[in-house]
């Protein structure tokens, strides 16, 4: 993937973070992302992110589960191996509803977890660069991407004025890689 240059700042207060996000976007900086240790209500709207399409995917997986269950049981119990259970009709829909329900839930749940991992690029052995490890602990970390027209010194000052501490210019890998955090070790120990 690509290595890019970022201006990274730390925030400790939501009440400072929200206006800062607004200011950064209004000033025309390219906001890469904000990393927080817990979900913050309304931050996605403030950052101008679109609604996730995870629910649509979940609905499609659910429908797939429903039709798989009904389709398979219908085929098995009416065509392939029709057995008379207690005088019930071969196509005994009420008896299949629990299985259909479970399969709908299973497909939707597993599908959505996998889709979520795909969207976030999470998987075993997949490694991604951290902007600041404190974003997993107690601070909100904002990363602004440097474009050809970004004046770095000015951007640092802007972020500091907006309430950020510990503002740095850093070069980070934006994609993911397979392997270890060997490079990180060096970085954190210095």
């Amino acid at each position: 993937m690509a290595k890019k240059k970022f201006i990274v700042g730390n925030f400790t207060d939501e009440a400072v973070l929200f206006p800062a996000v607004k200011k950064v976007r209004r000033a025309g900086y390219k906001l890469h992302d904000v990393f927080t240790p817990f979900p913050i209500h309304g931050l996605d709207k403030e950052m101008g992110l679109r609604d996730t399409s995870l629910h649509t995917a979940g609905f499609i997986y659910g429908i797939t589960g429903t039709s798989t269950a009904v389709g398979f049981i219908t085929w098995a119990l009416t065509i392939d191996w029709a057995i008379n259970f207690g005088g019930k009709p071969y196509f005994a829909l009420p008896a299949w509803i629990p299985v259909t329900f479970e399969l709908t839930v299973l497909f939707a749940a597993v599908g959505m977890v996998l889709t979520f991992c795909w969207l976030c690029q999470l998987a075993p052995f997949v490694k991604k660069d951290h902007f600041n490890p404190r974003s997993t602990d107690d601070t909100f970390v904002m990363a602004i991407e440097c474009t050809s027209s970004t004046n770095e010194a000015e951007a640092i000052q802007f972020l500091q004025a907006a309430g950020a501490t510990d503002v740095k210019v850093e070069t980070k890998e934006t994609g993911w890689w397979l392997g270890s955090y060997a490079n990180d070790k060096m970085r954190f120990e210095k």
């Binding site: 209500h41 309304g42 609604d51 629910h55 207690g86 005088g87 019930k88 009420p94 008896a95 509803i97």
Partner: protein, 409 residues
């Protein structure tokens, strides 16, 4: 339109309510002339069954409002505070509806006509082995004591909750200690109400009032299923009143975040209702024992088939598909439409609970019953409007109000 903090009924509001009540009264008179005054006990029963179905249904859905108030109080919820006066006002109809329903139920039980509750026929019960085994539960004394006690307790505890809510309107709670004490007091009364509620709607009452119409048949699922039915329609009723008030420029702090949560309740409890409905249906379908399938025979396969499946579609499939998306639950138009549909659907549900046993050979003319239902709707509109006007629409001194103002889903 400016925003006002106290409700005064809009121009047409009471006119519509009175018109509905007039239609209801005309329908009752019409029913009386066509069937109630007849000498045939089956025809008389059709008149009383209509009153029974409507009064019990509307009593249970206005009472569901108080259940909503108490359950959110008990869970220390704050999101509902911006519109909590609405369910409180709806629950103020409980005493009136309770008296009406109790009067109807008791006149059916103590009347000479045993078509609806044939366990009231002493001679018949003597020779009926199943009914004589049920005598300890299905008898006139127990029925009337439970009915009267229920209505009195619901009214008293509901009154206490409303009174607690209004008691701090003019005197803010100054210290943290006072606020904690106030919340604790609320919690205790709400818990008492929930105990009474669970002993009535969630267990014994639907068995007595509705299930005993099919006196030989029984289902332990029945009360839960009735509760789910009335709770989801109760939530729909609250949502409707919230939309009406918003449209007239009240409830300034209630926005589509709160509407979203009401929509979630309507969606979730529609599914919950289906779960219970199906659990009851599937076990009976699977076991296929005549004494149990006797309930579903006229409903799912007999002349009530159309109503039965239509009711299932509008109570399950429509809410499931229409209320599924986030944007639908935040849209005033969709919520209004779905609330009306859900209330109508569960009214039909009650219709098919009551009538197949009372009138097994022909489906009664449903127009009359719809007219009677409109009468009760008018009564609820009028009484709720009056109760809303009595207090400010925001309980502004309640310790949890801020939680509702910044509510975010």
């Amino acid at each position: 339109m400016s925003i006002r903090s106290t409700f005064t009924a809009p121009k047409n509001y009471n006119t519509i309510a009175w018109t509905f009540m007039a239609i209801g009264l005309l329908s009752i008179i019409g029913l009386w002339v066509t069937s109630g005054s007849s000498t045939d006990p089956k025809e008389q029963a059709r008149f009383w069954a209509s009153l029974l179905q409507n009064s019990v249904f509307f009593l249970l859905i206005v009472n569901a409002s108080m259940f909503f108030v108490c359950i959110t109080t008990l869970a220390w919820g704050g999101w509902q505070m911006s519109f909590r006066r609405v369910p409180e006002a709806i629950s103020a109809v409980v005493p009136v509806m309770g008296v009406i329903a109790a009067a109807i139920l008791l006149s059916i039980v103590f009347g000479d006509n045993h078509t609806i509750y044939h366990w009231t026929d002493v001679e018949h019960v003597k020779h009926d082995e199943i009914l004589s085994h049920k005598k300890g539960f299905l008898n006139k004394t127990f029925f009337s004591v439970v009915t009267i006690l229920t209505v009195v307790l619901w009214s008293l505890l509901g009154w206490k909750m409303r009174q607690l809510s209004r008691s701090i309107d003019d005197e803010p709670l100054a210290t943290m200690e006072e606020r904690k004490k106030y919340i604790f007091k609320n919690t205790v009364w709400a818990a008492l109400y929930i105990v009474v509620f669970s002993l009535t709607v969630m267990s014994s009452l639907p068995w007595l009032w509705l299930m005993s119409i099919d006196a030989h048949w029984y289902s332990t699922m029945y009360s839960w299923y009735t509760f789910a039915s009335t709770f989801v329609s109760g939530m729909a009723l609250i949502a409707l009143f919230v939309v009406i008030l918003k449209n007239n420029g009240y409830l300034e702090y209630t926005n589509n975040e709160h509407l979203h949560d009401l929509g979630k309740f309507m969606f979730a409890f529609s599914v919950f209702w289906t779960y219970l409905w199906f659990s009851q249906f599937m076990l009976i379908w699977y076991a296929n024992i005549p004494e149990e399938t006797v309930y579903f025979q006229p409903r799912a396969h007999g002349i009530y088939k159309g109503i039965f499946w239509f009711m299932f579609i509008i109570n399950f499939i429509a809410p499931l598909l229409i209320l599924m998306t986030r944007s639908a639950k935040r849209n005033y138009g969709t919520i209004t439409f779905m609330a009306l549909l859900i209330i109508f659907g569960h009214w039909l549900d009650f219709y098919q609970m009551v009538f197949p046993a009372v009138s097994p050979n022909k489906v009664p003319n449903i127009i009359y019953d719809l007219g009677v239902a409109l009468g009760f709707v008018g009564l609820i509109m009028y009484m709720t409007g009056r109760a809303l006007a009595k207090a400010p629409l925001l309980a502004r001194n309640h310790p949890f109000v801020k939680e509702s103002l910044i509510h975010h889903t």
